[in-house]
């Protein structure tokens, strides 16, 4: 990794010396300009010649779906990734950003989606860290630090107790600490990565007020989001990114949610598998008024009710983080629901563990195959029996039958086209697509009544996606009730007989999968509402 040559000027006309000590700021130049930024990862172009211009005193929204390339772009700005092409200009002067410390020194601060705060330290300590206000060579000047923090807080409209431990603050206040941290370092350009993802509507409104104050004082704010109404509410300008490319730039005055949704989601549907006719039968899998808490004790699932009929695929669309993970964990036995009822084939299975659910006929392809689905250091054949190792023919009592496992593995490898040198290589050495095929092979081969697919094709290549989709349709035709949860709208649209949209822990709408309209679902995902409306931010459905 060569540090200094972070950015190669793409055009010969670029200022020859990118050293900030030599070049003076250019009059009336934008605070930040990114030109032709391109970043390729193996097999994918994350950023494809992206141009971005942010003026002083502007709130600039970067809008795009998960995976559109926003984070990559910001990592480049923050010195965490090196672009393959393109250049960055601060105040009109080309610069090379070598890392986070360099970015901070140049007045760029980032508020990460996952806060970079130390919970056990106080607000003041978190803000001071790395940029300490000193009383002398050794000791901190804590009273001066407190004074400056109070002063900064007051300037931007909130009172904060510098001595409160950060861990005791609400998420909204933690976010303010992050912003204060940036301001304490005299940031001029503030990047907020999905700042509202974890906030309540009220907190969101309050943070927006802070951001407006910041802009009024001449700071530039880059606001990354995929929530249309927020972007419209707070941004001065909006740049929309889709699949690594800038697809449009708007001001709130000249656009609306429909326009932005279309830009963000796009129209094209790339993959189509002929899904054939479905013949739904009796409800095989039902969920009634399910409430589930997340790890921090907040209610992430708020009264979900649904029923999946035998022989149908029921899709749950939604932007990631709207309670889907908790919902899936609760119905697959990995998390105890707080309230509600789950039935499988007419039997109440509420609160059963994975083993019991498996025996009752539920299989589950987890979204995170490294966390749940596979033991990477184990041979492929062991992974292929991970959920049935204890049953005949793989075991008799306590004794495992290796030959049966191996035969089974070889059959699965052939049937599901898992590309591997043999069945005894560690699963972790396979490519992502083949790892996922192994999980699918294992779960689809069980004696099934119902199947939960969580992001079944996340991060896979086209071939594997298509293969897995075909397998899912085949299971549907065999009479299995399938619950498909995915943040990929295309996948939902392509497979589902019925589509529900999950928004803030609730199912806000159920539509027919065959007649579903992409724009309509996109709008529901982004806003939780079907119609354009002028209701204030955070209004409940």
């Amino acid at each position: 990794m060569t540090e200094p040559q972070a950015i190669q000027p793409s055009a010969p006309s670029a200022v020859p010396s990118p050293d900030r000590t030599l070049a003076a700021p250019v009059e009336n130049a934008p605070a930040l300009e990114m030109r032709g930024i391109t970043k390729r990862y193996p097999g994918v172009i994350a950023n494809d010649h992206i141009d971005l211009e942010v003026r002083p005193g502007e709130i600039h929204a970067l809008l795009g779906e998960n995976g559109a390339g926003k984070s990559t772009l910001m990592n480049i700005l923050y010195g965490l990734a090196v672009p393959d092409e393109g250049e960055i200009l601060l105040d009109g002067v080309p610069v090379t950003i070598s890392g986070p410390s360099d970015a901070i020194e140049r007045g760029i601060s980032m508020v990460h989606q996952h806060f970079m705060l130390v919970p056990v330290l106080s607000v003041a300590e978190n803000i001071l860290l790395g940029e300490e206000t000193m009383a002398n060579a050794i000791f901190l000047d804590r009273s001066e630090a407190r004074r400056r923090i109070r002063e900064l807080g007051a300037r931007f409209g909130f009172e904060i107790d510098p001595d409160a431990p950060v861990g005791s603050l609400s998420v909204g206040w933690q976010q303010r600490v992050e912003i204060l941290k940036a301001l304490y370092r005299k940031a001029r350009i503030l990047v907020l990565d999905e700042p509202t993802a974890v906030l309540t509507p009220q907190e969101t409104e309050e943070i927006f007020a802070v951001l407006r104050r910041l802009a009024d004082e001449g700071h530039s704010v880059i606001f990354i989001s995929h929530k249309l109404y927020e972007v419209l509410a707070v941004a001065d300008r909006i740049t929309v990114i889709r699949r690594g490319r800038v697809v449009g730039s708007r001001t709130p005055a000249e656009t609306n949610e429909e326009d932005l949704a279309e830009l963000m989601v796009g129209r094209e549907v790339q993959l189509t598998v002929d899904r054939g006719e479905s013949h739904p039968g009796e409800p095989a899998f039902t969920v009634e008024d399910l409430h589930v808490q997340d790890d921090r004790g907040h209610e992430a699932v708020r009264g979900v009710t649904l029923e999946v009929r035998a022989g149908e695929i029921f899709g749950i669309a939604g932007v990631a983080g709207n309670g889907q993970d908790e919902l899936v964990e609760a119905i697959t036995g990995l998390r105890k629901p707080k309230q509600g009822r789950v039935t499988l084939g007419g039997r109440d299975v509420t609160g059963s563990g994975p083993r019991k659910l498996g025996a009752a006929g539920l299989a589950y392809v987890p979204g995170d195959r490294h966390r749940f689905g596979l033991v990477l250091s184990f041979p492929l054949q062991d992974n292929l029996v991970l959920t049935s190792y204890h049953k005949s023919p793989f075991a008799r009592g306590l004794v495992r039958d290796d030959q049966a496992c191996e035969d089974w593995a070889n059959r699965s490898i052939a049937e599901y086209d898992i590309r591997t040198p043999s069945c005894d290589v560690p699963a972790g050495t396979l490519s992502g697509g083949n790892q996922q095929k192994a999980v699918v092979a294992r779960e689809f081969s069980r004696d099934l009544k119902a199947l939960v697919l969580d992001q079944p094709t996340r991060g896979l290549d086209v071939g594997s996606i298509e293969f897995i989709h075909r397998q899912a349709l085949a299971k549907r035709d065999a009479g299995t009730a399938i619950l498909l949860v995915s943040a990929e709208l295309d996948e939902i649209l392509e497979l589902s007989d019925r589509i529900a949209v999950m928004y803030r822990g609730e199912l806000v709408a159920v539509v027919d999968g065959r007649t579903a309209n992409r724009e309509e679902i996109g709008l529901l995902m982004a806003t939780g509402r079907r119609e354009e409306s002028k209701s204030p931010i955070g209004a409940e459905v």
Partner: protein, 421 residues
């Protein structure tokens, strides 16, 4: 908020076999924003070669190299010691020392038997640590479990001394297994029920075991008529000699434990569960296993094995226990398990190596005047080379070989989460 960063964050093996699957993961992948998706699991070792010789070498290269290098380092230490040992520089002293070590351990029937006898407790205690490793547990408590097993065997043996041998021996060994098992159950239950990390609790239990022994042997279990506090003779509970001068029945128990442990780990569903919990507790839960119960079971089993090791020592070699009874077997067991890669056969081999060094060190001290403690030094250096296996691999250019301690990469990472559950 729990935990900090989670490991190397690599998608293991992005393309280990480009020739085989060129198209995999190509195309417009949506989720490209996080090319370094966080993986909670330890790095994946390279696949084992199919050829048995290559397979053996890829697993055993680093341990063997570590032993060889450690012996070299040991010879340098001996060389430097020659000023003190023989009062002048003696370039051949290492040769002399190692040859008397060899003769002491393998040079005679008695030497051989001594080697096997010395290896016996190491095998059992080594399994007690190694099986723990497989389940993602660092059992530093083999020492305490060993002592509790010894205590139980000594107490029960003395009580049953007049009974017919099968009853006496069976009873005493059973007591050893229960005593050790109980001392393993405690940290297992603490971890499963309260989240207390086993590293700290087992260390503490080692010392509590010593206190229990001190109390019982100077008090309730003290036999009258001796000038120092000790338990009564084990009488009929003494293990019969089956090999040479002092090769006791414990050897057979240890030899039996190796295939049993192997069977448990790789042929039984229980072992599969145990290894799954060790490699990826989340996947274990997903697969319907119960990590908490498995933790309790594993540590109890480890304690049972270490307890048998202690019982074997009392019933097979010493015949009684005194208040200051102490060997470093429980700590040597950690070295044995690491060197043997937590594999039963590897543990057997490592135990024989360490047993031989112990058995031969006496002769070495007499003939070459090199103190027996050099064995501990060499053991530590072996571990050092295993832990810092990058050095070994660089020296030997063993890129394909597996790292020294990859079985246990996830063990310590959880230390800070002991209270978080």
């Amino acid at each position: 908020m729990s935990g900090g960063p989670s490991g190397p964050d690599q998608e293991p093996a992005t393309d280990p076999k480009p020739a085989m699957d060129p198209s995999a993961d190509a195309g417009p992948v949506i989720e490209a924003e996080a090319p370094q998706a966080a993986s909670p699991q330890a790095a994946v070792p390279p696949p084992l070669p199919r050829d048995p010789v290559a397979r053996f070498w890829s697993v055993a290269a680093v341990p063997i190299a570590a032993v060889v290098l450690a012996l070299l380092v040991g010879s340098l230490i001996i060389l430097a010691s020659s000023f003190f040992a023989v009062g002048g520089f003696e370039p051949l002293l290492p040769v002399e020392a190692y040859s008397s070590l060899l003769r002491g351990s393998f040079g005679s029937v008695n030497g051989l038997v001594n080697t096997v006898v010395a290896a016996t407790p190491l095998v059992l205690a080594g399994l007690a640590v190694g099986i723990g490793f497989k389940a993602g547990l660092f059992n530093i408590g083999a020492q305490g479990q060993f002592l509790m097993g010894a205590l139980a065997a000594a107490g029960t043996g003395a009580a049953l001394a007049q009974q017919p041998p099968p009853i006496a021996i069976g009873g005493a060994l059973l007591a050893a297994a229960i005593g050790g098992g109980l001392w393993g159950f405690i940290p297992g239950a603490l971890k499963a029920w309260t989240g207390a990390h086993e590293v700290v609790t087992t260390i503490m239990l080692n010392y509590i075991a010593a206190a229990v022994i001190g109390y019982l042997i100077t008090g309730p279990l003290a036999a009258p008529g001796f000038s120092f506090a000790r338990t009564g003779p084990v009488g009929n509970a003494a293990l019969p000699i089956i090999l040479g001068r002092n090769g006791h029945l414990g050897i057979l128990i240890a030899l039996l434990a190796v295939p049993l442990a192997y069977w448990l780990l790789w042929r039984s569903t229980l072992g599969f569960e145990l290894r799954t919990v060790g490699a990826n507790p989340n996947a274990a839960r997903y697969a319907g296993m119960r990590p908490g119960l498995l933790t309790i079971f594993t540590l109890s089993l480890c304690g049972l094995l270490a307890g048998l090791a202690g019982g074997g020592q009392i019933l097979g070699t010493s015949g009684f226990m005194n208040a200051s009874y102490g060997t470093a077997t429980g700590f040597d067991a950690i070295a044995v398990a690491l060197l043997g890669r937590a594999h039963p056969v590897g543990i057997l081999a490592a135990s024989l190596l360490f047993g031989a060094m112990r058995a031969g060190s006496g002769l070495m001290q007499i003939e070459a005047r090199i103190p027996v403690e050099i064995i501990d030094v060499i053991q530590a250096v072996i571990l050092l080379f295993l832990a810092a296996d990058v050095i070994v691999r660089r020296i030997l250019r063993l890129r394909a070989a597996r790292s020294g301690v990859d079985e246990i990469q996830t063990v310590t990472r959880s230390y800070g989460e002991q209270a978080a559950r």
